[in-house]
């Protein structure tokens, strides 16, 4: 099962859309919540929609915290999507749970007074500006994705930040630290822009 992508199913959001896009890319994937199944995958996608504490609670209950930590230590490529990326941080203003702590970052809320007309959640299509090169993004292309979130990353290490998006102010919308990748938007719902990003993740992860 060398080239299989594992989608972590912790009951957090719409996994069908990711499967649907990988199918269109002709990439085999398994959807599982159990470490033994997921351990067979060459790379992992950690999706997530919902609240931080619920997300961490679900991952913990499934015994995935240790598993994911071991996978990360082994250098397995892991892509966090939306809440999935936020869970990789130290913690969030949204909840009390401790995050996975892989990224030296906090997760903070958009303040409606940050700018005029700023409604929360940040919802809709927005641009990503590349601030450093990454296998996931090409700065010469249009990078436009679908966002829906009320909280965003605040990274301590600027070298982790790959892409910025402006909503009221600029925030980190794409991050990378070693084999860990995170995107705040939903590539699985972002037409060819998102499909290209997922394809690049698959390529770097399993060399397809």
């Amino acid at each position: 099962m060398g080239g299989v992508i594992g989608i972590v199913d912790a009951g957090l959001g719409n996994i069908g859309s990711i499967q649907n896009m990988l199918r269109r890319l002709d990439v085999p994937c398994i959807v599982a919540s159990d470490p033994i199944q997921l351990g067979k995958a060459a790379a992992l996608i950690l999706p997530g929609v919902g609240s931080f504490d619920k997300g961490m609670g679900a991952i913990r209950q499934l015994g995935l915290v240790e598993f994911l930590g071991a996978q990360r230590a082994a250098g397995t490529a892991i892509l966090g999507i939306c809440l999935g990326m936020q869970l990789m941080c130290r913690g969030s203003e949204e909840g009390d749970e401790e995050g996975l702590g892989w990224l030296d970052a906090a997760v903070i809320k958009f303040r409606p007074d940050d700018g005029q007309h700023l409604r929360v959640p940040h919802m809709g299509w927005n641009d990503v500006r590349c601030v450093r090169s990454s296998p996931l993004l090409d700065n010469s292309e249009m990078n436009r994705f679908y966002f829906v979130h009320s909280y965003h990353l605040s990274c301590q290490r600027s070298e982790d930040v790959v892409g910025l998006t402006a909503y009221g102010h600029e925030f980190a919308s794409v991050v990378q630290n070693g084999s860990i990748y995170g995107v705040q938007f939903h590539p699985e719902k972002s037409h060819r822009f998102g499909m290209r990003l997922l394809e690049r993740f698959v390529q770097l992860a399993v060399g397809r």
């Binding site: 069908g16 649907n20 896009m21 919902g50 299509w125 927005n126 679908y146 719902k189 037409h191 060819r192």
Partner: protein, 253 residues
């Protein structure tokens, strides 16, 4: 920069796509799967799909139909129609939609919106309301499925309550403008969006691009478009269209 949200709204009667005028005279427009394929190739930003008969016919959301529609799309989809419980909503989200919309059921059980938001997150919950002017010219919420259609309910109060109870977005449809291409009811959009912090999707009346701009200026976070993107001409000839990306970017103000 955040792109203006311009959202085709597909109305279904069962598995056929229709377009109504003032919520009456449904005209059959064809197979929604075909329309979705075209919208997907046009890289539409989002889609809303509403089964307008489900509640009055006491039908639950059709999982197979929704899954078939969602698989055609690489953009976020909101589905509404017949959603009256947590299990209905779960079925919709599991079938591949990002958001679920409820309308009539919330009039009978406002606490449902909180249950939906607590279970699936506010960002997945679109509270929908249909509004028309009553005899005295005041805006009133309508209940399309109930015996008394016009409710003695003020849409601003109702919108505020829905947002406070956890709705992530409000879909506000003007029954008086539906299918007329006379422009949005910008007054309605404006008085509701001023009172809530969640995004308001305005729907009903779009006839040209300038209407979209007007409703966004009035405070709507998004413009829902039915007739203009689904048909052409005075006789509702079926024709799927969308605006090119540069025209959508040009709607910023």
């Amino acid at each position: 920069m955040l792109r203006p949200r311009v959202i085709p709204v597909l109305t279904l009667q069962g598995d056929g796509m229709v377009k109504t005028t003032r919520f009456s005279h449904p005209r059959y427009l064809g197979d929604p799967v075909n329309a979705l394929r075209i919208f997907n190739t046009k890289e539409v930003d989002e889609l809303i799909i509403l089964d307008i008969e489900a509640t009055s016919q006491d039908r639950r959301p059709n999982s197979d139909l929704i899954r078939g529609l969602a698989e055609e799309c690489f953009m976020p989809i909101t589905y509404g129609g017949g959603v009256a419980s947590l299990s209905d909503a779960e079925l919709v989200l599991r079938a591949g939609c990002e958001k679920v919309s409820a309308n009539s059921a919330l009039l009978r059980d406002p606490a449902l919106v909180t249950k939906l938001a607590d279970t699936f997150g506010s960002q997945s919950v679109v509270a929908s309301m249909d509004v028309s002017r009553g005899r005295l010219g005041k805006y009133r919420v309508r209940d399309e499925s109930g015996p008394r259609r016009l409710q003695n309910r003020d849409p601003v109060d109702w919108g505020r309550e829905l947002a406070e109870r956890g709705a992530g977005e409000l879909l506000v449809t003007s029954v008086d403008r539906d299918g007329t291409a006379e422009g949005y009811d910008v007054e309605l959009t404006s008085i509701i969006s001023r009172e809530v912090s969640v995004p308001v999707i305005a729907c009903g009346g779009c006839g040209e691009r300038g209407d979209i701009r007007d409703v966004l200026v009035s405070g709507a976070a998004a413009a829902g478009v039915g007739r203009m993107f689904l048909t052409r001409g005075p006789h509702f000839a079926a024709l799927v269209s969308y605006l090119p990306p540069e025209e959508i970017d040009g709607l910023r103000f």
